[in-house]
Each structure stands twice: as C-alpha cells, then as structure tokens.
Subunit: 214 residues, 2 copies
DNA sequence: TATACTATGTGATTGTGAGAACAAGCACAT
DNA sequence: ATGTGCTTGTTCTCACAATCACATAGTATA
C-alpha cells in the first residue's frame, strides 16, 4: 500500500538512512545503463538483506513488478520526485575556515545539498565568495535563515565559540544542527544535534570490533 | 555487576556510540573543574534520558555513589583505563591527497586515535611525512598492516580506485573499513564497511526533519 | 543514632526494527 | 487460454534496545 499520500508516516530512521544508499546505488546502475534490478542486487551492493530493501521501499510505494524486478529509471525518478517534493535541501555553514571551505567545495560535486550561505566573524573572509557561496558576517545570520527558511545548519567553528552561535541558530528557527566540534552543546527540546568527526567514527569502529567480535 | 572482566560481553552498539558522547562530556566537566555529576547532568548534555546513561554505564561497572552521583575524575579515569586496556586505536589512511592530509592533521589534536601510516600510489607523495605520519607506497600496504596488526582502515581515494584497494585490505586482515567515497563497495562476510560524508549526513538530517516532525 | 532524602543500579515491560517465510501478481512460454 | 516460474509486497516472529519503576544504598541532618 502506498503510504506516500498520507501525512508524516512513521518511517524508521534506519530506513531513511538506507534510502540514501539505495539512491546512490541506483544512480550508478543508471549511469552504467542497467535497465532492471532485483531487490537482491541492491541489497548485495548495500550490504543488507533483500527483504529489508523491499520493506524499506514499501514505505514509499509500490515500485516493482513481481517476477521481474524494478525498472532502474522509473524507481530512480519516482524516489527523486518524492524527495524533491519536500523542497530543496538548503543549508548554511557557520565558519569559513579550512573545514568550512572544504565542505563548501565538496558540496559543489553533490547536486542534492545546497549550501546557500556561509558565515564568519572574521572581516577578511566576509564579502567574498567560496566557490559561488557568499560569505556573510555573523550579523546577517538571523536574516538569511529567516529569508530562506533554513532548517539545518552545519557548524565548523572553534569549540569555544560554539554555544553562543547555537543559541542564535535555535532562536532563528534552526531545527537540526550538525556540529563538527566535539564538545557537547545545549539545545531546547525539539532541536536535534548530531556530531560529525572522522576520528570519533574510528573510535566507534574500534569499540565495536572489541566488544562485538567472537 | 562489573562485566568488564568477562570476555566479550554483549554490549549494545547504541551504548558504545553513546559512550563516546559521555566521555566527551566528562572531559569538559573535568576541564571545567566540576567534581561531581549526576546521571541526569550527563543525560541532558547528551540529549538522552538519565536512565539510559545509568544503564549504559552499568554494562561496564558500578561507578557512582547512590544519593550522591558520579565523581568526575574517577569515572573519567576508569573509563579511560578500560578503553586503553583494549590497546591503542591504530589505524591507517589510504590516500594522501587533500582529504587524507586533512584527516591526518586533524588526528594530531586527538589523543585517542593513532594514524600510524598513510599510503598513496603517487610517487611524489610517498617517502614524505605528513605531520609526523609516514606516507608509504601502496606496495607496502600488506606489510604495514600485518606488522602492526591493523584492523581498521580509512579510505580517502578517488571512487574508481576503491574496490581493488578494498580487496587488498580485506585479504591483509582489515576488519572494518571507513570509506569516504560514496559508492557502494563489496566485502566478504565479517568485514564491516561504514560510509562517511558530511553532505550525506545533511541529506539524512533533511529526510529526518521531513518524515519525523509533527 | 535514627530518620528523611536523594540518586544509583537493575529487573520487568514495552516498543521497534530485522529477518524469514509466505501469499500475491506479473510475464512468458506452451 | 492456461500453467509455470520468478520476484515482489506483506505478515509474522524474534531479538534487541529504550523506558519505566522500584529496590538499594549511600548522604545529610537533627
């Protein structure tokens, strides 16, 4: 049954995360000129079971043909349309230093996520462009967020300056913060914070290896 | 009950991940000179329930005093000791380009994760040091992995070159791969792959906002 | 020393996601 | 037209994680 038309169905977070894998996978199939795929093809590529793929897709609709599989172009298109109907993925980056710049440049190779503005307190950074993305003074923060109805912000500034900026982001309407600084930050109910750091991920993998295996 | 001394207890993955948050949180408490914390203090900082904190900690031992809370120094020290007893978190980075270099430099500010070697197929990169980390030719891959008993590798090379390198990593004994390239990769049973990309994370947060809220 | 109070540690319960198995449906051959 | 084979969509079961609630054990105070 197609639940797509209902408002806000309860889709598991794990499903949403895997959906990104599937999309990625489907795009490479499309690029390679593959016409049809089975749930098991996708599953193997993404390292999950085929029943998981089918169940995940079933949250969004019926896309396949029994006995035959999924039409790559069609599935790709339908999922894309569905996601585009949610509006553009607009985001801002706080901090136009090394890390911020790297993220902005990296984003230009990715057509999904739009970084529409960067912010820096440093005078010699503001007013310029980084790969087409304007760098504003932090004074403009609230204005830009409200004008563009931004809900997600990426924070790439030194740890000690994080909390005041977070407070401003929250009161300006930001609902989800991706922090590249490792220290814990305080936000009110309803705002989500995730941390993002390669070395933390390595630490986690390390713990996992040590506490799960044999 | 302290399960630390038993071999490979079944600790939930979610607990392991949160443990990193707690540690991070405890270090800032320590730095701020806070002597004692309650499970609820940690919980609020990390965005979880206090009972979750207590249960998570209980997998590793009894660290608190009823009616009083946790001694910050003591808890910090005990958890650190426990993790150090697992041995050093040694890892290697494949690819000494922009991304690889950034990670290596970043790792120098983090005392937990040791990057002990980098690899690159490019002749003008090999033989040099990046912030103290030697850059080897890819020929040395298997030797270094085996000599140092490396289990985790971070891949920061162009997508098209990923799969052959993965195959070599796996047969050299790598158990966990963190890929910074977005394309799916194939590994045998028992080897885990995670993907890591800021913009994918933004995409995920976006989906989460749209499919979870109100 | 006794009593009230406070916060931990844990057993029990609820909830949620993964995996397996099966029913349903389409294509194609005969 | 009908049957066969194949893969999807879905139900059901199991396992695991989050949450609750309470017993436990310490502190503080009079």
């Amino acid at each position: 049954m197609n639940r797509m038309n209902f408002i806000k169905p309860a889709i598991p977070e794990t499903t949403l995360r895997r959906l990104l894998y599937y999309m990625r996978c489907l795009r490479t199939y499309k690029k390679d000129g593959v016409k049809t795929v089975l749930s098991d093809n996708i599953a193997k590529k993404c390292g999950v079971k085929s029943s998981v793929v089918r169940k995940d897709l079933s949250y969004f609709g019926e896309f396949g043909v029994r006995g035959k599989g999924y039409d790559v172009d069609e599935l790709c298109h339908k999922l894309d349309t569905m996601l585009n109907s949610l509006g553009p993925i607009n985001t801002i980056v706080i901090g136009a230093g090394k890390l911020g710049t790297a993220i902005i440049n990296h984003s230009k190779e990715n057509f999904k996520t739009n970084i529409i503005a960067a912010f820096d307190k440093n005078r010699d950074k503001t007013g310029k462009n980084i790969n087409g993305v304007p760098v504003y003074s932090l004074d403009k923060l609230e204005d830009i967020i409200k004008e563009n109805n931004i809900k997600i912000a990426v924070i790439a500034i030194p740890p000690c300056e994080v909390q005041p900026v977070v407070d401003r982001l929250v009161s300006a309407g930001i609902k989800s913060i991706l922090s590249l600084a490792l220290l814990p930050i305080n936000v009110p109910e309803g705002v989500e914070v995730s941390f993002f750091d390669v070395l933390s991920e390595v630490e986690y993998l390390f713990l996992k290896l040590n506490f799960k295996e044999s």
